[in-house]
């Protein structure tokens, strides 16, 4: 597949950009924060995204979806990164759907996919237990109980935690790591939402002897680690796409500022000390674009090197976006660190996404392991 967008994809991107800049620019995020949003996103806006088919993009047609693939959804996430538009797009429409596509039984798919496509259900992956991302180190236990299981443990950094209808929970079972679909309202589930630094609302979720039937098992109990790795790789590539949008927008705003802002009687963008840093950053962003595009194609093609590309994308784009946001603040000078000015919001959202599903050091290490060193 050529590393360029086709006409259809360009149209999708352009219409998404129009919609987001009109309906949900950075001011929308600011408003949610100032009003103390409990979910961290607007249900009304989520409804409009649903109406446009965004929640149905990955869902196969037989379940009421558009079957349009990862590359299309990646473009939407990139655009949401540009406007910092908060929504469950990453957690539900991408990660949640990918989990069901990878490991869901026909019954599980029939139950959840049409509901997700219709924007009626929010899914959330609950796999982290410590501040550091260690998806292979799971203390949550799944004990056999009757015909099903009994789950006990605590998950942290569960995104969209306050709004989620069902959690995808990793737990250690007798055969190994297993994944379960656990409704948020099940007996013994306690959700403690907390606002994250970017105003999104995550949660600590405690499972206290939560009884689930065998039909709640996602995938076979001995394949849980492989399934989870795949789900996480999809989520990582999605996060990289959103980070790419953040990097481009914060950089674009900075370039405009360098042309406008005058000191010593000239635009500060005429200073070589700033020009060279901007040119280097431009190069890193161009590299990041290629990596995200390639990783999304790999998902669509089911390529064997998805894991390597996911770590490549997450490490590369996290580094680039972080640098873009920090340089944006430095080059804006004093107003860059004020709350009145929007540029700081980019750094905050960037920090969340670069940490989520493994930061650059995690993926540097993983990339080396995957390549045999």
């Amino acid at each position: 597949m050529a590393l360029v967008l086709n006409d259809e994809q360009r149209m999708l991107r352009d219409s998404a950009r129009d919609f987001l800049t009109q309906r949900a620019p950075v001011g929308h995020l600011r408003q949610l924060r100032d009003n103390g949003s409990e979910t961290g996103f607007s249900r009304d806006l989520w409804g409009e995204m649903t109406d446009m088919g965004w929640t149905a993009i990955l869902v196969p047609e037989e379940y009421g979806g558009l079957d349009y693939g990862y590359s299309g959804l990646g473009l939407l996430l990139e655009e949401c990164g540009r406007t910092l538009t908060p929504s469950p797009l990453l957690g539900t429409a991408l990660t949640g759907v990918a989990a069901l596509l990878r490991a869901g039984t026909p019954e599980q798919r029939a139950e959840w996919l049409p509901a997700v496509a219709a924007g009626e259900r929010i899914l959330s992956l609950a796999c982290d237990e410590t501040g550091g991302h260690r998806p292979d180190r799971v203390a949550t236990r799944a004990e056999p109980h009757g015909n099903g299981y009994r789950l006990t443990g605590t998950k942290t950094a569960v995104i969209d935690g306050a709004a989620a209808d069902v959690f995808i929970v990793s737990a250690a079972a007798d055969q190994g790591l297993a994944l379960f679909l656990v409704p948020a309202g099940a007996n013994g589930v306690t959700v403690e939402p907390y606002p994250a630094l970017d105003i999104s609302v995550a949660a600590r979720v405690t499972f206290d002897q939560v009884e689930v039937p065998a039909s709640a098992l996602l995938g076979s109990p001995d394949q849980g680690q492989a399934v989870l790795d795949h789900i996480l790789d999809v989520a990582r590539i999605g996060a990289a796409a959103e980070l790419l949008g953040i990097a481009q927008e914060s950089f674009g705003r900075t370039i405009e500022y360098l042309k406008e802002r005058k000191q010593f009687g000239v635009p500060i963008g005429s200073f070589q000390a700033l020009q060279h840093r901007a040119a280097q950053l431009h190069t890193e962003i161009e590299l990041s674009k290629s990596v995200v595009l390639k990783a999304l194609h790999a998902l669509d093609e089911g390529a064997p090197d998805c894991a390597e590309l996911a770590s490549l994308a997450k490490a590369k784009v996290s580094t680039t976006a972080h640098r873009a946001c920090c340089e944006a603040i430095q080059m804006h000078g004093g107003i860059g660190v004020t709350d009145d000015f929007d540029i700081g919001f980019f750094l905050k959202r960037c920090r969340i996404l670069e940490t989520l599903y493994g930061d650059r050091n995690f993926h540097l290490d993983r990339y080396a392991r995957l390549r045999g060193y």
Binding site: L3, L274, L364
Partner: protein, 393 residues
């Protein structure tokens, strides 16, 4: 069936029949391949045969028009030819500044007579070309060049000197930037001329580098006769051609800085040299540096792939070549630094088996020129800032 399949089949069969067995192994250095020219001594009959056969089909310059001796291939056919050559590990039949640099300038700006005169011998590897660009006082500020080319009626007389001429001592002809109008603003008095380096008054002196090798010369001109019909494009409009060729050169440098065809991945060299402890490289800071390098290297590879796809889709590369030149050369320099770190004291051996007679340290030292030659990294960043980002000044 893929419409290109018959062509691929034809290429494959022809290469099978015509590429000598001894030409089907990776070359170790530039000294192992044919550069052509009047004085080139073939290292083997196979090397001569390989050049003659490929040149006979015009495949030493696959995309040049057939009327100038080229292969007349389109881009997709060229890609197939490259793939089939790579498949059998064939050495390039000819490395040539004539093909890489002079040809593109002549094809775009040259008169029919000049194309007929110069291109066919280049395709056949008969004439080796040297490039005369930089001068002692015209490096990054190339347009400041001072080599004086004065009008003497039916010919020009050239005086001055060039520096950093790649293999200047081995060149047969030179394409050269000279000043032909001494009053005009500096960009408007430059012409692009060609002359035989055997002309009286041309001399060269090798420049010994910190690597111990001398791939460049100084080139001196003392009352050198230049024929009037050997000007490419219009008189005093040479800067346009120079800029075009510089962009072209950057693309090539960026491309070659990356063509690690034949070179082992850095991590493999590290594993073979240092060994693994419990499945990972025990030196964790070095391991992280290697991983960072490999991530950046792959990112650049993918970006070059994307740029090629965009060119195919009709987007022109333009100033982006500067970005590739900058990043590609910086990356190669990082690779050489890491190879030195991996090699440890073995990489310090100048003559001896530990470093294959200084291969590692010489390549490391040679790489220090990468971010200088072909326009410094700083010049490339200036170009990106001004022409892509639109920053003022």
């Amino acid at each position: 069936m893929n419409p290109m399949e018959p062509f691929r089949q034809e290429v494959r069969e022809w290469l099978e029949a015509n590429c000598p067995e001894s030409m089907r192994s990776p070359y170790r250095s530039e000294a192992d391949v044919c550069w052509g020219g009047r004085n080139f001594e073939f290292q083997s009959d196979d090397q001569r045969l390989w050049l003659e056969r490929m040149a006979g089909r015009g495949w030493t310059a696959p995309t040049w028009p057939k009327e100038y001796g080229g292969g007349g291939l389109d881009r997709s056919q060229e890609k197939i030819l490259k793939e089939e050559l790579a498949r059998i590990h064939a050495r390039p039949p000819l490395l040539s500044f004539g093909i890489a640099m002079l040809g593109p300038a002549l094809l775009k700006f040259g008169s029919e007579e000049l194309k007929q005169q110069h291109l066919p011998p280049v395709v056949r590897g008969e004439i080796r070309w040297a490039q005369g660009y930089s001068e002692p006082n015209a490096g990054s500020d190339l347009a400041n060049l001072q080599a004086r080319c004065e009008d003497r009626g039916d010919h020009f007389i050239l005086n001055g000197s060039k520096i950093w001429t790649s293999y200047g001592d081995l060149g047969d002809w030179m394409f050269c930037l000279v000043r032909t109008d001494f009053e005009a603003p500096k960009h408007q008095g430059i012409s692009f001329v060609m002359f035989d380096m055997a002309t009286p008054g041309v001399s060269t002196r090798p420049i010994r580098l910190i690597s111990g090798k001398s791939p460049f010369t100084e080139t001196f001109f003392e009352d050198v006769r230049v024929e009037k019909d050997q000007v490419i494009g219009e008189l005093n409009k040479g800067w346009t051609i120079a800029k075009y060729l510089l962009t072209h050169e950057r693309e090539m440098i960026a491309g070659s800085g990356l063509s690690h065809a034949g070179t082992a991945p850095l991590s493999k060299t590290a594993i073979d040299t240092i060994g693994l402890d419990n499945g990972i490289l025990g030196n964790t800071p070095l391991r992280a540096d290697i991983a960072r390098f490999e991530i950046d290297e792959r990112s650049l590879d993918l970006t070059i792939e994307r740029a090629r796809d965009e060119v195919k889709a009709g987007v022109s590369l333009g100033a982006a070549a500067s970005m590739f030149k900058y990043y590609g050369t910086e990356l190669n320099m990082r690779r050489q630094e890491l190879l030195m770190a991996i090699g440890g004291s073995d990489a310090l051996v100048w003559e001896g088996a530990e470093s294959k007679d200084g291969q590692a340290p010489r390549q490391w030292l040679r790489s220090k020129g990468n971010s200088i030659e072909g326009g410094t990294s700083e010049i490339q960043l200036n170009i990106v800032a001004k022409h892509i980002l639109g920053l003022p000044g």
